[in-house]
Structure formats: C-alpha cells, structure tokens
Amino acid sequence: MAKPEGELTWKDLEIGAIVTEPGSASQYQTGDWRTEKPIIDLDKCNQCGLCYLFCPDAAIELNGEGYPEADLFYCKGCGICATECPKKAITMVEEEE
C-alpha cells in the first residue's frame, strides 16, 4: 500500500476494496479505538507474565528484563491486563485527547 489507509481516497482503492498485500493487518492501528491506556508500575510488577498471556491482542510484550510493555499502536485499552494482574501493578488511565 503506497499510502497509509487513512490517507487513501476512494479512487486509490482496489476494486471491491480488495487487499492485495499479505500481512496488511499489521498496519491497522487498533490503538485508535482506545479510551484508556494501561500504565504499568514496575515497582509492583513481579514479572509473572499473566498480562502478556491474557492480552487478547498480543499488544503486551515482555522486554529484555522480563517486564511487560504495552504496544499502544495496537492496544485497544480493554483493561483485561489490569483486571488479571495479581499485584495490581497495572492501572487504566484515561487518554488525555
């Protein structure tokens, strides 16, 4: 796709909006849907990885030190990570915009 999806005009679309490039879902910014984002308190986190396992969008990755990091490009802000965290280390905070 030459342009990002949000910049395509109706004339740029393939017939029937067919997607001709494989793997294009990675360009899809589901983070747009979010109203709250997860803030992770690393002092409370015990690196159990439950947030990583429960995230339905695989938007939480574990960094080199084993701590979780949310990928806000994909995170929809569902809050499942915050609910599941046994140490209450994740807080959902409203997006400012």
Partner: protein, 392 residues
C-alpha cells in the same frame, strides 16, 4: 437470424439462457414461484447439457454465500430466488455488490409474509432496493430471456463488476408459456465474451476480499461503490445497443408508450406495464391524451431519461406493487417525486398502490386508476396515496 421462436415457459427460457451463457456455477434453493427456473437448470446440468457445478444448499443465505465464492474465483455464476428467499439472502446481497462480484440472479417477484403469499408483487424487490445491485425489470418472457444474457455482459464488464438482478413477476411471468426467440449459441458467444475477473481468488496470488473497513476507510469504499453503480448506466446502454445490433431487439432504461404530447402519464414496472398498454390504447380510442412509461432500469435509477420522458406532462400516475408502511405510499412513487422535485415544470405525481399479493389489475382496472388519478390531480385527495381495488 437463425433464431428459433418456440413456445416455452418463461422459467424454462431462463434456464436455456444460462445454458447459452455457459454458466459455470449455479447455487440456489427452490422457492415458489422461482422453482421451475432452478429445477430446469438442475435438469440441464444432470443431463450434461450444461457443464456447470450445481450446488444444492440448505437456505438462500447459503446459496448467495456460495455464489460469492464462485464468482470470486472467476466462475460465471447464476442463482434465482423469490420473496422470503430474497429476504433471507439480504445481508449477503450487500456483500456481493460491495465486493464487486458480477453474479446474476433472476428474482421471481413475490409478496412477503404475513399472511403467507406465494403470489406476485414487488415487496421483495423494494426491500432490497438499496443493496447496490444493478436491477432490471422485465415486462414479458422475451425481455426476461434477453436481459439474463445482457446481465452477464453488463455485470462482468470490467468497467462495472457489479451483481445484477433481473426481476420478473412471479406467476404472471414465471409460469407463463410465451413464444420466445432462442438464439444460436454462436450468436450468444458473439454477444457475451468469457468471464474474466480482474483480481480472482488464486492461491498463487494471494489476496483478501471482504476485509475490515475501519471508520478511516469505510466511507471511501462506499463512495467507490456508488460511483461504480452510477457509471454502470453507460455500459448498460452500450450492452443493450450491441444486443440490438446482434439480435434486433431494442431495450432502454425507460420506454415510453404514446408519451408524445400526452398530458397524463401512467408509470408501471414489470409485466403489469403490458396490461397497462392495452388500457392506454382503449383510452386513446376515447380521445384521451394518455401515455405509459415502462420503467425497466430500476438501479442505477435513470434520472435523465425519466425527466426527459415526463416533459410536458401535467399528471404522472405511478403504480406501486409494494407498500412503504407509514410512508408516502409506494417506493417507486417516492422516487419519481424526488427525481422531479427540482424540475421547474413538473407534473403532479399521484401514487397508487395495487396488484399486491398476486391480485391482478385488468385493463379496466388500469383505466379506472388513470381516471381516478386525473380526478385526484384536479380535486386533490386527503390521502398521500390510494390503494387500488381494496374493499372498504
């Protein structure tokens, strides 16, 4: 012309048209009054006269879904349904047009339940008006046969790539035996090139159809679809022109009958417009300046042609065979009023709803509608529209 004119049931003629169009896939679920069409096709396939896959399914929803898939791999695809069956297909109809799959469907127009009615009217069509399909109304058996062939050529044209419905009145046409010209295979081949979808589903060239359209792109996809449907009219005219060149029968989006100089016009669709012609003849004999508009192309709506044909008329009487409950009457009448609203000089548009659930309107009935329409145009009416022939 080496065409043979034979007496044949219109449903069977449609099956013959699919054979001559050499369709690859047919998926359908039988429903009255469409049944003969799909039975006849099944027989052609079973007898080896038509080399096609016939996919029996458990519902119309599945029939249309199977048609999407076959059209998407580049197979020439046909189906047929009626009434409740068309309603059960409803959500998939939008997918066919949005994915730009040029399958062809004959719709044996039928009333909707309840009460259960297997008989004809246009309630089923009007409920799928906005599905994005090209929609053509046939007035008789020959028009039905011809327009099934035209539908493949129009829909499959790379400038169009849209599905096409050919509407024929349930029973009034589906079960009628008419003399119909059946062309030679070579003539049909000359008119109808093989189907080639530009971006078919192909394991060697993977692509995705029917993906998610987020708020940032959905509007653009709908605009593209709207432009395509409107632009299809040029190709429809071209196809009908070429059809006329080869087969000598001429079709147009709107057909006027004694419209020249007529002060009063009646507009009807489908087979009822044939009966209405006789009523026009009778009224002309009485010295009344009346004419008839047969609206053949329903989508894309032929705005220019309609405005042209009503020019000079003072009264336009519209017969709808469907009711928009609690609204301004019939959907066709609403459409005509809307199409003429901005014209400086326009006729009064008088709406009637009649011919529901298989009730016939005779020649005398049409005369009555026209006379009552003239009366309403002069004295007005307390109702937005009138239901013709209802027992009060």
């Amino acid at each position: 012309m080496s065409a043979q004119r034979i007496g044949v049931e219109v449903s069977q003629a449609i099956a013959i048209a699919t054979r001559l169009a050499n369709v690859d896939v047919v998926s359908a679920y039988p429903i009255t009054p469409q049944t003969h069409i799909v039975e006849d096709i099944a027989e052609l396939v079973a007898n080896g006269e038509l080399d096609a896959s016939y996919i029996p399914v458990e519902s119309e929803h599945s029939a249309m879904s199977a048609c999407l898939g076959s059209s998407a791999v580049g197979a020439r695809t046909f189906t047929a349904t009626a009434g409740q069956g068309l309603e059960l297909m409803h959500e998939v109809l939008y997918v066919a047009s949005a994915m730009r799959l040029p399958l062809v469907m004959a719709v044996a127009n039928r009333a909707l339940s309840a009460p259960i009615s297997i008989w004809g009217d246009h309630s089923d069509v009007m409920a799928v008006r906005d599905t994005g399909w090209i929609q053509i109304f046939a007035a008789n058996g020959q028009e039905t046969f011809d327009n099934v062939l035209c539908a493949f050529r129009i829909g499959e044209d790379h400038r169009v790539l849209l599905p096409v419905m050919v509407h024929l009145d349930g029973f009034f046409l589906t079960h009628m035996i008419e003399p119909i010209y059946i062309p030679e295979q070579s003539e049909v081949d000359r008119f109808l090139p093989p189907y080639q979808y530009p971006l078919p589903l192909d394991p060697d060239k993977p692509l995705s159809m029917g993906g998610m359209g987020a708020p940032n792109i959905y509007t653009e996809t709908k605009k593209a679809q709207e432009v395509a449907l409107v632009a299809a009219k040029e190709v429809i005219l071209e196809a009908w022109g070429e059809f006329n060149n080869i087969f000598g029968r001429n079709y147009s989006p709107v057909e006027g009958y004694h419209c020249e100089g007529a002060k009063v016009l009646l507009l009807a669709m489908g087979s009822f417009s044939e009966t209405a012609m006789s009523a026009i003849d009778a009224l002309r004999d009485e010295g009344k300046e009346v004419g008839l508009i047969k609206l053949r192309l329903w989508r894309p709506f032929p705005f220019e042609e309609v405005r042209q044909v009503v020019k000079g008329a003072e009264v336009l009487i519209v017969l709808d065979r469907a009711l928009s409950f609690g609204g301004p009457g019939g959907p066709v009448c609403s459409e005509l009023r809307s199409a003429l609203y901005h014209e400086d000089k326009k006729p009064k548009v008088i709406g009637f709803v009649g011919g529901l659930g298989g009730r016939a309107i005779t020649i005398d009935g049409f005369k009555e509608i026209i006379n009552r329409g003239i009366e309403i145009s002069q004295k007005g009416s307390e109702q937005e529209f009138e239901m013709f022939g209802v027992r009060e």
